[in-house]
């Protein structure tokens, strides 16, 4: 009996948290479907549900365009980080070379630096390269990250050398070794790095705001931010909530697809999303 009682108590307690975390999200979705006047209420229900807010957002902001931009940038960054991260990680993990320990230490050190420190120099560089108002300006500085390199290195170190040697004797070049042997064997690492990179890139607002001015080149979070804060939504609270919902939808879809891997990723990397 006591067992059951404590179970019930635990569930009640957890449900409280569940509601506390989920309710604002549900409220946002529900309110985005209500006329502006009704949004003041904290409830979810309304007799006048409408898509008007969404129509307003779509008519005033290039949402589809921004979604595609985000998709292009996040995908390009992810592919590049996985590709180059794996190659560098392999070199650090498996190529015997005296400097590799120091290089790894140096990479770890760069991870300690707050990104604000490199923000201005990187921005200056992008301006000099003439890549402002260009999606390349969003992709280029993020094509390789120290975190990805270190994570790949750690995973790759656990692959036995003899397997690599067998492949070399079998006729494998070092590059093919990375893609045909090492990466397939380190699938969890590849998935982890890919998910974390994709989400980080997708959610980034600060950098796009610095580099992109043209509305048609904005990423989704950037567009929503400027839409909500930049006055285009005027005082239409509903439209603001609708745009926020639009921003959340791809993440929710992405999450439901990769739920299992995402949980594992964050658990294994110790990185918060």
């Amino acid at each position: 009996m006591r067992n059951r009682a404590s179970t019930v108590a635990a569930y009640a307690f957890l449900s409280l948290f569940f509601v506390a975390f989920l309710y604002p999200f549900l409220w946002m979705i529900a309110s985005s479907l209500k006329p502006d006047l009704e949004i003041v209420s904290m409830g979810l229900t309304s007799s006048n549900y409408t898509l008007g807010n969404y129509l307003l957002v779509f008519s005033r902001a290039p949402v589809v365009r921004a979604f595609l931009n985000s998709l292009i940038v996040a995908s390009a960054v992810t592919v590049s980080v996985v590709l180059f991260g794996a190659m560098v990680g392999y070199a650090l993990a498996k190529v015997k070379w005296k400097g590799s320990v120091y290089l790894t230490a140096f990479l770890l050190f760069t991870m300690m630096l707050p990104f604000q420190l490199t923000l201005i120099p990187t921005y200056t560089l992008i301006v000099k390269l003439g890549l402002t108002d260009n999606l390349l300006g969003l992709i280029l500085p993020n094509m390789l990250t120290a975190v990805a390199v270190i994570m790949f290195r750690q995973f790759f170190q656990s692959i036995p050398d003899t397997i690599l040697e067998a492949a070399r004797v079998d006729g494998c070049s070092e590059v093919k070794l990375v893609f045909k042997i090492v990466m397939p064997l380190a699938k969890p690492a590849v998935v982890t790095v890919a998910i974390i990179t994709f989400l980080t890139s997708w959610n980034d607002v600060l950098w796009p705001i610095m580099v992109i001015r043209e509305r048609d080149l904005m990423t989704l979070p950037q567009l929503v931010t400027t839409f909500v804060l930049g006055g285009e939504a005027e005082s239409h609270l509903g439209a603001k909530l609708a745009s926020a919902t639009l921003l959340a939808v791809p993440i929710v879809v992405f999450y439901s697809f990769f739920q299992r891997s995402i949980v594992q990723s964050f658990a294994s990397s110790g990185v918060k999303g």
Partner: protein
């Protein structure tokens, strides 16, 4: 197929270890050469240098007449079978075997024919679409061998491929690899620390210790004519018995063990040992050359009887190994047919056939 040639090959590791020291030997086309020696003697290092997995510090290695010192492993056209199999865990057995051929852009049909054929030879046709992790050790080793033979390389390199298998399977795979060698008429270099494998499989044996080659010879020559004490003691199981003593002239040439065991040296030894009169030498006698009165008959006139107490008896079925001590406290072993069982504590007369004795210099350990 091709010959493999090592000339004055030396390998120094970064830590300063000289793993292989001025090693030279040739493996002829289609020859099966076994590198054997105790643990840490540099066998694996030698093999890895032939494969190109380890750089040569000095000396040259050539395969098929071409110096390969600076050639990458992938361009040496050799195949290697590793002790721990080193199969690709994410590929099926078929893919494991096809990998090398795919990299070399063989047509699909050709790959399939070769893999099927190799699988047939090795009896692994039924596992082709399984992953390595569901296979037993023996099956994995077959896949590893299969992966090597589909490539039809210039030479095969084996690094203790059987040491992870149980005793019975090891013997079975041993004959299978020997059979494969004849069937493929392939050049093979085989590393093992097991002298039985070396004796049974090799056309020739390269015997190493501490990075140095001690003897290169056919198995029987190595057994009958070891060039030094190490070779004599390493090859043969149970190992050769060694007696330390001095040479005296007392009627004829005599060998007197420190504890008093006493042999008369006859035959060819008499002339070659003349110079050692008054000096200490090591005398070696294989277990089968120590008989037991009542079980064996004296093999030659040079047979010396010695009474001793039986310590441990190991019956092998067809023969027994009898361990005993002499006055010097050294353990010796005799190997006799299993006509009669002996027991611990029994006093018997051992018959030392001194015509078969090997004699070694105490300092250089070289055979005299």
């Amino acid at each position: 197929m091709a010959e493999v040639n090592l000339e004055h090959v030396t390998k120094k590791y970064d830590g300063g270890v000289t793993a292989v020291n001025d090693v030279s030997f040739q493996v002829a086309d289609n020859e099966f050469v076994v590198l054997v020696g105790p643990s840490g003697c540099g066998k694996t290092t030698t093999l890895r240098m032939i494969a190109g997995l380890e750089e040569v510090t000095s000396g040259t290695i050539s395969i098929g007449g071409k110096v390969v010192n600076d050639v990458d492993p992938k361009n040496r056209d050799i195949a290697m079978v590793f002790q721990n199999y080193a199969l690709y865990p994410h590929m099926t057995v078929y893919e494991n075997m096809a990998f090398g051929l795919k990299l070399r852009k063989y047509p699909k049909a050709e790959i399939e024919t070769r893999v099927k054929e190799a699988a047939q030879i090795l009896g692994i046709q039924d596992f082709l679409d399984r992953k390595p992790k569901v296979l037993s050790g023996g099956q994995r080793q077959r896949v590893a061998v299969g992966r090597a033979i589909v490539r039809k390389p210039k030479a095969f390199l084996f690094d203790e491929p059987l040491s992870n298998l149980d005793a019975k399977l090891r013997v079975q795979m041993r004959t299978e690899i020997s059979r494969l060698h004849h069937r493929l008429s392939a050049t093979m270099v085989y590393v093992t620390h097991d002298q039985t494998e070396a004796m049974t499989m090799g056309d020739r044996i390269v015997l190493m210790k501490d990075g140095i080659i001690h003897q290169i010879d056919t198995p029987l020559n190595l057994y009958d004519h070891p060039v030094n004490k190490f070779a004599a003691g390493f090859i043969g199981s149970p190992a050769m018995n060694f007696f330390t003593g001095s040479i005296t002239r007392d009627g004829g040439l005599q060998f007197r063990e420190t504890s008093g065991v006493h042999f008369k040296l006859g035959g060819p030894l008499e002339s070659s040992l003349g110079a050692y009169e008054g000096r200490t030498v090591v005398l070696g006698l294989r277990p089968e050359h120590i008989g037991i009165a009542g079980i064996t008959t004296p093999a030659s006139e040079a047979t010396v009887p010695l009474k001793a107490t039986v310590d441990v008896v190991e019956p092998m079925g067809n023969e027994i190994f009898v361990y005993f001590f002499t006055g010097s406290g050294t353990q010796y072993v005799s190997r006799v047919p299993a006509h009669r069982m002996l027991s611990h504590g029994e006093h018997v007369e051992f018959l030392f056939d001194c015509s078969r004795a090997h004699v070694f210099d105490t300092e250089t350990e070289k055979a005299i």
